[in-house]
Amino acid sequence: MADWKARTEGAKVVKSICPYCAVGCGQSVYVKDEKIVQIEGDPDSPISRGRLCPKGAASLSLVTNPLREYKVKYRRPFGTRWEELPLERAMEMIADRVLETRRDTWESTDGDGHTLNRCYGIAHLGGATLDNEENYLMKKLYTALGVVQVENQARI
């Protein structure tokens, strides 16, 4: 045991919340040299009092998990393999797909002339580990696009 010192010594502590279930346990994220060295319970939290379950205790392994990937992957129609695609290019293509599908599937009114004002050809399913702010921007953008099939985990 060459180094007897806890690796959290001298680390910056960033306060966070566990991303797994909805108990909402407080987490302390220890950061050294722009790297997370440890995540554990935040004793200040009145809900969790510093404790975590196995999933919460594994959050560091979650954000550094061996299967995690950091590059966009693209599969073209009828393709048989993944291809590389720069992020900016992917964003551009997605914006184009959205507008194209929106034009193609726009419904101004129903059969009886009632206003619909919507784009029926796009749907969304979101996880419930997204932030409120993210949900808000999503709902706002989709609604402006006329996309109504905006759904999330809560339904599942």
Binding site: M1, E40, R51, G56, A57
Partner: protein
Amino acid sequence: MGFFTDTTLCIGCKACEVACKEWNKLPSDGYEFTGESYDNTKELNGNSWRHVAFIEQLGQERDTSRWLMESDVCKHCTHAGCLDVCPTGAIIRTEFGTVVIQDDICNGCGYCVVACPFGVIGEKQEDHTMGKCTLCYDRLKVGEQPACAKACPTESIQFGVVDELRERAEKRLANVQARFAGAQLYLNDPNDGVGGGGSLFLLLDKPEVYGLPPNPIVPTKDLPLRWRTAGIAAALLFGAVVLCAAVRE
């Protein structure tokens, strides 16, 4: 310092196992389904320093059915076999009274493995030294409690000064005896075969049900006797050799 593990409060979540591995950077120990209730960790070893045991006691009568769970850990014995037999001095008793393997000194001889009455120690996959709970020595050094005790959601794992934990354990036993059949303390007696544990347990059944030895004894207890009998055997051997050489046919 030590642990008091109160199994009446254990919900079997295994947060202790994960918190321990995360802190001590231990690897996973294989992905094998055992079918032994919800226990796929199987045992304490060099890669798993906390192990939650699951015992299903489910008879036909629903009222008496129970599912026992216990988070096992190194006992940090007062008389520690592993420490006694370690030939390199890698295993030390720390200023906190805990028993710790220094992995930069350990040469992996494995003697501690067979000297532990609880089967706690095993080889560490990563560096082939022997591994076991350090009671988070590095955390204790900076005034933090061990990772497992901190994570435990229900205070089944309590950390503290051993004497205080002993007192707490006795009180707790008195408190729960009426509620939980079979409640008993384990390793709380300083006069037992290992001089009492630095880890105490409140169990709900006999120790062997949890895979714990009922009357653990530190092997070095008999050491002087063993050297004596070995001395006699050596003397006999010497005598026999001399005799064989002396006799001429």
